[in-house]
Each structure stands twice: as structure tokens, then as C-alpha cells.
Amino acid sequence: MKVLVAMSGGVDSSVAAALALAGGHSVVGATMKLWGGPADRGCCSVSDVDDARRVAQQLGIAHHVFNFSADFERHVVEPYVADHAAGATPNPCIECNRHVKFDSFLRRALRLGFDAVATGHHARVVRDPDGSWSLRRGADAAKDQSYVLHMLGQEQLARVLLPVGEMTKAEVRAEAARLGLRTAAKADSQDVCFISSAAGRAAFLAERMALHPGRVVDRAGRTLGEVEAVELVTVGQRRGLGAAAGRYAVEVDVARRTVTAGTADELMVSSVPVGPPAWVAGAPDPAEDLEVQTSAHGTPVPARWHPAPGSAPGGVAGRVLTASPIRRVAPGQSVVLYRGDRVVGGAVAAPA
């Protein structure tokens, strides 16, 4: 096959390119330029492009840089700011996967005559006996990234290779070292790629939206303290609640500029409302026992899918019902359902 490998300049995508090549594919590497502003690393900086290019040179494959910064701004950065303004806590990596890497980039690859794209994500794409594609957890449980890929449907999975998904991170690094790739010992990327650690999230958002001081209140509405910026408070957060120390943020109301603080018990819920879901291979039966994971490396807990009857208010498309209480999920975070090690699908948590 003709395969376009998305090379971020990290060790995983470097080895993904090497494995695709070793698998007999005709391979070209491409680095996406996603962000024009200051950033430490990630997919955006010139030094990462250099690393990707040097690895491509070592492998003897062509390397291109594709500018997706307009798509990234529109589908990732702008919603990131807008979600915060609405009191939600978005996961920009998931929106980047949904709209840029596995949409714009994949479509670009197909237009350019490629049969598939490969990335360095730790997850597995498996063709099942019935001919359908499944997305499964990566072999390295600690590095599994199936959560951030939950939006991939059949159409995409048929065109996606995840060559390092069968390996542990240690094996990936060992393979990179064996091949003498310069990225073998490169540190994993952390945090949000378009926000520099020096400036931080608060400064990034403050440049792009208005931040408002807010009151911390209890369930009865009594004022317990203040926060500098209500938009920066995440449901479940404990830090920075002032006099309400020891309590958790259980609700953020940007319109009223209040953060409701509650006890650990008040943080627990058994029903998570979500927006429109994306299913890998169709919606699950509401009676089926599944598991839900509510953060990138969270522990899965037993749950079922409960679609909203008809058109529910507030864009709520359904609820994930857990067998036992879990911590509240901050609106904007993704809720992903699994059947064993297979991703069933997922959705973005809506306000409670």
C-alpha cells in the first residue's frame, strides 16, 4: 500500500514510519504544521519538524510539511477558547484527532493517492472476521491511547494503520535505538501542544477571552470564597477554592459566575449526560454491560449506554449510566465506552 505517515518528530511516529516501511509499504512522511504561535514542543515547533525530517532521511523516505494551521485554529483552538468561556474543560487532542489528523489530513492523503495513513498512536486497528474494523486498546496498558481515538468510525479505520499499537513503549524505544533513530530517547510530549509551559493555560486564555472572578458557594447558595477566574475552574478540582478548601468543585456556572463546592460524596454521580456520540461500529444495545472511561488514563468502570428519548434539551444525546458512582465528569471531557479492550464509541460530557 501507499502509506502517508504522520510524523510529529516523536519516537512513536518515527518507529511507526520505520515499521510501515519494513512492512513492505511505499511510505512517505508528513509533518503537520498546526500552530503558528509560541509553544514548547508537540507537533508545532520547527525543532520537531527537524527531528521528523532527519528520521525520514535516515529511513530514506520523502518528507513533506503540510500546513493545517487554519483547520487547527478553527477546529481546535477556537473551540478550546469558546468551551472555556462556557465553563467547560475541553480536550483539544481529541478535537485535533477528530477534525485534523483523522479528517483533514486523512482526506488530504487520499486525495494525493495514498491508500492509508499511519500514526504513532498506541492503539490497535483489527479487522474482525465479519469484515468490520475494530479499535482496540494498545498493547502497553500504561500508554494506551484508544481513548483519544474513540471517534474513529469504520470509514477511517479502514484507512488507518497504527503500527506501534502492538508494542510497549519500551519496545518502541528499543526499536528506535536499534535503528539508530535520533528520536529514540526523546521525551514524550506532554500537555497541550499549543500552550507553552512558561505562559500556561491561564495566560493563553486571558489573551483570547474575558476571565471573570467568581464566587464559591455551597449547595444552599452561601458564599464560601472567591476564585480569580470562574472560567478556569474544572469540575472535580480541589485546588484554589479558597475558604472552601477540602471541598471539590461540583458545578461551574459561568453565567452566574459561581462555583458550587461540595463534599467528596456530592462529587459522585451515576449518570453522565453527553452530547452526540461517535460509534466505531454502531450504537450499543442499552441492555449491554460495557465499561466507561472518563479520562485518558482513567480506570474503566461498568456502565451502560442510555440514549435520550427523542430530542432531548441542551444537546444531550444520551447518558452513560454507571453501575456504581463515579466522580463527576467535567463538561467538555470525553466519555468513552469499551467492550473489553474494544472501543465502542464515545461522546463529550455535557453540563449536568
Binding site: K33, V49, H64, V65, F66, S69, R108, R111, G113
Partner: protein, 373 residues
Amino acid sequence: MTVYLDHAAGSPLRCEAAAAMQEWITGAFGNPSGGHHVARRARAAVDESRDRVAEFLGVQPGGVVFTSGGTEADNLAVLGPLLAGRRGAVVVSAVEHPAVLEAARASGREVRVAAVGPDGRVEAEQLRKVVDKDVAVVSVQLANHETGVVQDIPGLAARVRKWAPGAVFHTDAVQGAPWLPLPEATAGADLVTISAHKLGGPQGAGALGIRGAVEVAPVIRGGGQEGERRSGTHNVAAIVGLAAAVGSLDLSCATAVAARRDRLWTAISGSLEGAVRTGAGSPLVPGHLHLRIPGADSESMVFLLDEAGVCASAGAACASGAAEPSPVLLAMGVDKSEAGCALRLTLGPSTTDADVDAAAAAVVAAALTLQED
């Protein structure tokens, strides 16, 4: 198969230049600033080169400052007069190369931008709006790096002389130099930039030509080489290569190259409805064909052409190599999405009819592939 249509980015070394450089790469050596016979030989090579480049530029030999390339010469042209004490604002056209624009922005002076029309030309009345007696430096390119549109430098320089007698007029002639006789095409300009590798010389050499008694203080300081205007040991081999390249340029091939370029456009536009030629009504350097093909984005076109063996350019790129919406096209009033479909094909003296045929077929095939979706 390689069809090289990116001469505006870099042209192959002419054999005359390669032959002249050979001696200074593998045999002769020495620092031209020394006091012995080895140094004197190197000095003589630089001086002879200076004479040839001076003649090419239409300046006195003492008015040639050898630099590391066009970018350094542009920086020296914009910043040098300011560092020498000249007061006032910097005026640039909206379509200047980043080497001029970024130097102007870094100058700390007020930067005034002269608009261009949809044809890419700087009109006198636009320049009039930003040039007055408070201007120190005016910089207008001879030919645009992306579109190839040629400006009327003698006409603009004469007007600037009238409106702002104290201002220095600079022209970046990097793209014009391979094609146009500089003494006439840049008449009236005080400062003229050229780059070796755009005209068949080596990378890493360029020059700023200084006409008359314009004072230019150094941007790079040190031992005081180049008449205290550019310090650093001379890159003798590259300077010799630059001189040999300009000495062997045959401007008479311009007509034939322009005819090939026009044939390339005819072949492409005949098969691709909606393709637009940039600067169609303007004077263009013979090598440039700049076009916009609806539905065929720059990055995808460059990719597909590369796969077909054709070297082309998106026109504008950032340091990472990603294509950017061209500030030149935006300044000409082209909208952002159309600017994203820019393609620059630049021919050189060595481009053949067969190259043109192959490139036309590849461009049409690539664009049709992209337009299908």
C-alpha cells in the same frame, strides 16, 4: 526524470562559475587581508571579481560590498543608511521579500508600506502617499520573488528623488538580475542587491551595489573588510563564482525563455478552466509563471508534481517548510482561499521545450486529480 522549474529558488551553478571556483576550492587559498604573496593572490581574485560585479551592477568598483547573499545585502541596504545616521522612516512596497520587510521592522523606525495594485505594480501615486521629507530609506524590488512582476525602478526612483531628496533608494534586484540589464533597469537607485545562486553562481554569495556617495554603516562588525561596510574574511571561492556567473550571463536568452514560459501557460490554461495567471498584464521577468488553479491547493500541487518529477513551488513558505498564504498575493487583493491555490513555476536558461511539455502535462494531471474531489 527531473524537470526543474524552481529557478527562482536556486538555479544550477553555471559551468563558468564552477570552473572559476575550482582553483579556490582545491588549490589556492589564503586570507585576502594578509601581507604576503599568498594573501595577495587571494586579494587579486577578489578585486578582479569586484570589477566584474561593479560593471554588472553599473557602480564603481569601490561601491561593491560582497555579502553572504541577498538577505544580508538587503539588511545592509535597509539598516546601513540608518546606522550611518540618516534620520527618518523606512518605506517599503507591500510585496517586498522578507529580507527587506523584516529588516525594516527590526529597524526601530516607523515603517510605511506602499500599496500595490491588483497587477502587483507599485504606482507612483501610492508611493506618493508614504514618501515625504521625513523618509530615510525607500526600498522597492526590481522583480517580485513570487510573481515575477517587474517594477519601474527608474521612474519610481526619480520621483522619490523629487519628493524626498534626502532619502536613499534601494532596490532588491535578486530576481531581476538574471534577466534584466541592471544599469538601465535599476537606474536612479542608490543601492542594488543581487544574489549569486539565483543567476548561476554559488549559494553563500551576494553583493550590495552602492552608487554615488551614499553612506552605509556596517551591520556585521569586526575587522573592517569591504571598506568598513561588511566585516568578515572574504569567501573567495564564492565571490569568484559570483563574478564568473555575472560575467557569463547571456541576457539575450530572455526572449526564448519568455516564449517557453508563455507556451507553458498556454498549454496549462488550455486544459484547466479557471486557471488564473498572476500579473498577466504586467511586465514580468522571463522565467516566472505564477498561477492560481481553483480547487488545487499549493501543498497538494507541489506534492503531486514532485511525485511526477517536476520541481515547483507554492511561492511562500515558513521556516518549517509549510506553505503559507502568500502576503504578496494578499497585498494584490487576492482572497485567502485563492492565495492557497498558488503555484510558482520558474524557468531558467537551461529549461528545454521538452521540460515545458512534461511540466504542462504534469500540472494538468495533478490539478485534475485534485479538482475531482
